[in-house]
């Protein structure tokens, strides 16, 4: 049983690896045969070379790769965490206490459809192009899905389970923590996963418009310096980190919802 599972997993790993290799092969083929000029699309080997070089060299745009990654992660994590904490709390309260819902929902409904990128111009006017501005834009991107999912999740709490708690004499606040919150964990995580994706995407958009370091900034500068290798390197790093973050989040979810896994 265990061995079978292991083999099964290995086969999947092999398949995943093959796709990656195939992807790189096609990419290399297209460039090497001159189908696309290396002036517009760098060869995989060139990107690898740039990667090694960028680890220590701040040229051409001004920061090493590590510094750019760090700068982006810092902004993204502050914005994202702020969005998660405030968004989840607001969503839960909205879903649990009708007065809060009545009070907040009209404003929320107007803010909700505004895409995070549309916040960029006003943010630059208000906060300039610094750390605060970027955090603010990312915050809005992540905030909305966190609110919606926490709100929906807690509203789906089983009436029966609430009544069980009520017959034991528990008040609304106690039931909120003992029944409402645990039963919305799954929805909350779905929201957080969306929020993480949106934060990371918005980050790049924010940095492309207003920044002096970071991965998005690096890509933008790559275009200005006509360095496609830097552009592609930046894209790959953004993709890689995004995937890594979502894996981390999935692990946390599995930890918290281990009862769901045991069936």
């Amino acid at each position: 049983m265990k061995k079978e599972k292991f083999l099964h997993r290995r086969r999947f790993l092999l398949a995943s690896l093959l796709t990656v290799i195939l992807f790189i092969a096609v990419w290399a083929f297209v460039v090497e045969t001159g189908l696309v000029s290396t002036r517009y699309l760098p060869a995989p080997a060139q990107v690898l070379k740039t990667f090694v070089q960028k680890l220590s060299d701040p040229k051409p745009e001004g920061s090493t790769l590590g510094a750019n990654i760090l700068s982006s992660l810092k902004v993204a994590s502050v914005g994202f965490l702020l969005a998660a904490v405030l968004g989840i709390s607001l969503g839960l309260f909205m879903g649990w206490y009708p007065p809060v819902e009545k009070f907040v929902k009209p404003v929320f409904e107007i803010i909700r459809p505004i895409p995070p990128v549309a916040w960029i111009p006003i943010t630059i006017m208000l906060f300039g192009i610094g750390f605060k501005a970027k955090v603010f834009i990312i915050f809005f991107g992540g905030f909305i899905p966190c609110v919606i999912n926490a709100y929906t999740g807690i509203q789906l709490t089983s009436r029966t389970l609430i009544q069980v708690a009520r017959t034991y004499g528990a008040g609304s606040w106690k039931i909120f923590w003992a029944v409402g919150v645990p039963s919305s964990v799954q929805m909350i995580f779905a929201g957080v996963r969306i929020a993480l994706g949106v934060s990371w995407t918005t980050l790049v958009a924010a940095e492309m418009l207003a920044a002096d370091s970071g991965l998005g900034y690096m890509i933008l500068m790559g275009r200005q310096f006509a360095r496609p290798d830097i552009i592609v390197l930046g894209m790959l790093i953004i993709g890689g980190i995004g995937a890594l973050l979502s894996v981390v989040l999935m692990r946390i979810e599995q930890r918290m919802e281990h009862w769901r896994m045991k069936r």
């Binding site: 017959t167 034991y168 004499g169 106690k174 009862w259 069936r263």
Partner: protein
Amino acid sequence: MSESVKIHVENLTKKYGDLLVLDDISFRIQKGEFVCVVGPTGCGKTTFLNLLSCLIEPTHGRILIDGIPADPKKHDIAFVFQEPSSFPWLTVKGNIGFGMRMKGWPREKREKRENEILKLMGLEKFAESYPGQLSVSTEQRMVIGRAFAMHPDLLLMDEPYGQMDVKMRFYLEDEVIRLWKETGTTVIFITHNIEEAIYLAQKVLILTNKPAKIKEQLSIDLPHPRNVSDAEFIRMRKYVTEQIKWW
């Protein structure tokens, strides 16, 4: 005699707008008594139970437990619902301790009681399992254990075995009787199954069609465990069926 009256229901009436659901119901239940409530489908049995558990407010009348108006914060009232009501994110042990945690029992007292109930229900080996890993009957046993766990002043059961097959029902009915005898809890058990009522109860309250009144209070003196093919049992069952017939 009157000092052992546990539950005192006086002139209980419930109206939804103009719709009269319960009409002036009064009765008493002794401490440690097992009472079944039967009545035609849709006669307001669940409304009746929701009133007793204080989930809804009566239009008139009152419910006294030990002479004090019933209040879930003061009294220990336990409720076994018709639909599954285990907390999927809590272990079996956590589920059994849920009520005690809501009531803020000290940890040691709670854990001691949790272990007692686990043992009593034969659920020790499932203590750390989650409800999703259990069979339906084991899950329901846990829910019953949870209800008995805090020595409730009053245990209300709303057709808990309505959805189950005959075999499982017999098994769980015996479990309830066993727990009731061990703990001396006062139980009100609602059912539309007349045989079930006769099998379990010391006293049967027969309700009329809507608006529900008490048609008759019937004492059943047969000793437990009862034999469903016993002549007296069958006579009782026929009698109650006659009383309930409304077609």
